[in-house]
Symmetry: C2
Subunit: 351 residues, 2 copies
């Protein structure tokens, strides 16, 4: 079987005969094959044992038929090496037992050493590149500095970001130092992933949409920009995904990258115009569409593909991670629809 | 004391000597005076006893110094008259014990009669107009059809909207009928509020930002448009607030109204341009800013006011409801800052 490089070509805005597709969180709980392994290991074990991470990373490639693999891991893994005590409480998501609340808390943090602290990630990547050699490209990823900082400060998930924003507004020195050490960590972490074999990397700013554009521009954008600039030097495509931030897309764009990731809150016809020709575009199907009948899924995929048309540089994806209760058959139906419609559209045939 | 009509003039894009301000959820838990009453009554009692609703509606007018009062009530109140069994579980938000899941569930719903089913709201409005006669205008409000339908289908709060979207995609007839009966209810409810004395009304589409623009346009916009058109005939300003929907602002605008409400996810300088001169604008300070030091609050208010400049038709507000843990002194500080800066800016004096 020939290596499928559609995803990499789309990242570089090169012509493709059809639109590649992968799905955020495609290696995960919606797959019975994942749950079968997961019942024997806790979440951090799944991340830290390369043979397990490799196995679940490969599952959607073989079973769903996506055009790229994304490493199974968690954005919070590099925080352990920074000095944070990370746990995943059952049903409650991540917990950080020693959250960052003061300047002295920040001063105790160190830049994580990717080889020493997250060597298991690099080992999984090396094994995956071997496994995927005749299949599809491997995407690495990391959380963006703001999203990681928000977890470090809040100590877990939140909907209000009061502690995070309060630190940002009240303790600018602590904030800047925290963003610096986090950015340095993410730079090293992503460069190590690329060194180990990741053929593209995605930066997930999952929670940046809770910031106003003014705060984003002042307190976050310089760090994200530095991150993307440093990582881009390694020569593989960088995907800049700022979730729920389309209303400040012009600022998000200025952080750089090769591909702009879109959530589902924007009409992709508008996004194509706003983003312009200098970036590839990834997205933007509402992940809940996969709960609809297959005809509705097909029509929604077709709508997105027709709006993008023959523009080079589109990677089909959901606008957010696939939901754990999704029927895998519906994920497969989406892959089929994207394949069919995009082949027709990109060959210039009208239906 | 002369009646302060700044808010009403700003709604009509008439010149004002300063920018009026009110805050979403300004009558509520962040005020100790509210909590003092609330400890003796449950939430629905607070809504249903006009003397209590009147008292807490007036509290922020007198104590925080806002330029408009908004009726204390809940968007879900009209659902009881439609046939839904509504409760507020302690600490868990609203629960609907007989959610709408099928076409036959929808067929059992009726259009609520505002006088018979929510007469307590109309009585509170009549009393409030008397109390506010030398003070400020009174704003009525309702939930938009989508937001109300989402509660009816989900049976309470959610973050995924799987049941709601599934019905929308799988059962278009049930969806359309549900939106019809809900829209009819909201039209009658808002017209009754205006008849009772509400001098403006706000339509809260709190959760519409979870929809893609395509779904909004196809399944929601026609109903919201009909709602606003019918209510507008009563001749008072209508505020169209679609939360977390700025990336589809052009579609939100097309639903109509006199004032477009903005959350905090958009730079107001961009929004002024996107909205154009035909609407007043309300917003858009991040509500969490009130957790910052007062100098930061002041600078953030000033930034918004300076970006709007002397454009007629700006009503200052938060981009979402004020958080329950907000210090009321910081809310007062915001009112002070808006008053000072907007007076200076609108008088043409540079600082």
């Amino acid at each position: 079987m020939a290596f499928n490089d559609l995803f990499l070509r789309a990242c570089r805005c090169e012509p493709t005969e059809r639109t590649p597709i992968w799905m955020m969180r495609q290696a995960g709980r919606y797959m019975p094959e994942y749950r079968a392994i997961r019942q024997n290991y806790d979440f951090l074990q799944m991340c830290k044992r390369p043979e397990l991470a490799v196995e679940v990373t490969l599952q959607p490639v073989d079973l769903i038929g996506v055009d790229a693999a994304i490493l199974f891991a968690d954005i919070l893994l590099p925080l352990e090496g920074m000095g944070l005590d990370l746990a995943f409480a059952k049903g409650e998501g991540p917990v950080i037992h020693n959250p960052v609340r003061t300047l002295s808390d920040v001063q105790r943090l160190r830049v994580s050493d990717p080889a020493a602290d997250t060597g298991y990630v690099m080992e999984a990547i090396r094994q995956l590149r071997h496994e995927l050699r005749d299949k599809v490209p491997l995407i690495g990823f990391a959380g963006a500095p703001f999203t990681l900082a928000s977890y470090m400060i809040e100590g877990g998930s939140t909907r209000a970001y009061i502690k995070c924003k309060s630190l940002m507004w009240s303790e600018p020195e602590a904030w800047e130092r925290l963003m610096q050490v986090t950015t340095d960590t993410v730079i090293q972490y992503l460069l190590a992933q690329i060194e180990a074999g990741a053929q593209a990397v995605q930066v997930f700013d999952s929670w940046v949409g809770f910031l106003s554009p003014v705060d984003y521009e002042r307190s976050v954008l310089p760090h994200t920009t530095r991150l993307i600039a440093e990582v881009s030097k390694a020569g593989v495509p960088v995907i800049n995904f700022a979730n729920n931030a389309t209303a400040m897309l012009s600022k998000v764009k200025s952080a750089g990258g090769d591909v702009i990731g879109l959530d589902w809150r924007v009409d992709i016809a508008d996004a194509v115009e706003w983003i312009g020709p200098d970036f590839a575009i990834q997205g933007n199907l509402d992940p809940m569409t996969l709960f609809a009948p297959v005809e509705v899924i097909d029509a929604a995929a077709r709508d997105i593909l027709e709006k993008v048309g023959t523009r080079p540089g589109h990677i089909f994806n959901l606008g957010h991670g696939i939901h754990k209760d999704t029927d895998p058959e519906h994920a497969k139906a989406l892959v089929h629809s994207v394949r069919e419609h995009s082949t027709r559209i990109r060959s210039g045939v009208t239906s």
